[in-house]
Amino acid sequence: MSIRLPKEISDEEILAHYLFDRSFARKVIEEKKLINKDVFLPNKGGVSLQRTSYCDENMCKSLATRILPDRKFVGFFCFRKLDFLKVKSEYVKSRPEFSAEIKSTPLNENFEYILENVEEVCLDDLGNPAHANLIYLNPAIVGDESPNTAIRSFSRKLSKVCKILIDINPYPDAYLGKKILDVFG
């Protein structure tokens, strides 16, 4: 029997954001070279996350290499949803109108969003049922080549509570690095 994924992401869930080589200064893959304030910047729309309770490291890596074959996958940047909420509640003290949320946004077999009011999503569905998005609501990201001060600052603050996991296997077959659950205990 297939496991149904809850639409609501619990506060204890660990979310993983893919790290590609472009997130590192001069593409040198070292923790200190990570451009941490820019990790959670969306190119457009939301920042893609994986719900690790429903997608292990190998599955996450396999999805990353299939969806974005032209990018070099190097690992994950992980945080609990509860940490996101804490960072946000601190941040709104200096930027009261700031608003952002993390939503479950499962993808179908063509990696397109499944509409919210459609049928329930199960773990063995094709596509990416464990996909989620970090969405900046206010201020939203503005068009190309314009500063996004509030979002960059928030991204930096969120990155401080994240844990980095580097994959030492350069090939797309399996993830070889620290396990997410071991790191979060």
Binding site: L41, S94, I141, E145, S146, P147, N148, T149, R152
Partner: protein, 166 residues
């Protein structure tokens, strides 16, 4: 106009150029004014320091513009604006900048970060037409500037950077 040369030394830049261009005769100790020579050397080295760091940073930005890597490439407008800003910042501000902290965002803007430590941070973002920045002190933002014209906001930016680096 006869009156003009009288006022020229009041302008510090004119004064600086005048001292830099003044020929010092080191062979004749009677005309050697130590204070004058010190000042001339200081101006000379400051000028070259500013020029070298500024050139280095401009080359880095130019490399981004010329890059074939889509993750690094910037547009002509961002390149122009970045040059304008690098030319407008004081040498001491550029000198304290670590070239590793010159980066590009996924949406094509250029970022310059001055980091004292993980909780004290100044991040300047250069867009095609606007600039934005935030100042983090002890982990909390004490200032955020969303989107301003560099030409009208230059003095405030320089003041904020100066205060941060002080």
């Amino acid at each position: 106009m006869a009156i003009l040369p009288t006022f020229l030394p009041l302008n510090p830049d004119v004064d600086k150029l005048s001292i830099l261009n003044h020929r010092t005769n080191y062979d004749d100790p009677t005309t050697l004014d130590e204070q004058f020579v010190d000042l001339k050397d200081t101006y000379y080295y400051t000028f070259h320091l500013q020029y070298e760091k500024q050139t280095l940073l401009k080359e880095e930005v130019l490399n981004m513009f010329r890059s074939f890597d889509e993750d690094l490439k910037i547009s002509t407008d961002v390149l122009k604006q970045s040059f304008l800003i690098l030319e407008g910042l004081y040498p001491s501000i550029l000198e304290s900048f670590d070239i590793e902290n010159l980066t590009r965002t996924p949406y094509g803007t250029v970022v310059l970060d001055w980091e004292k430590d993980s909780n004290n941070f100044f991040s300047l973002e250069i867009g095609a037409n606007k600039i934005g920045y935030f100042i983090e002190k002890d982990g909390v933002d004490i200032k955020q500037v969303d989107s301003e014209d560099f030409s009208t906001y230059k003095n405030q930016l320089v003041r904020d950077l100066g205060l941060f680096l002080d």
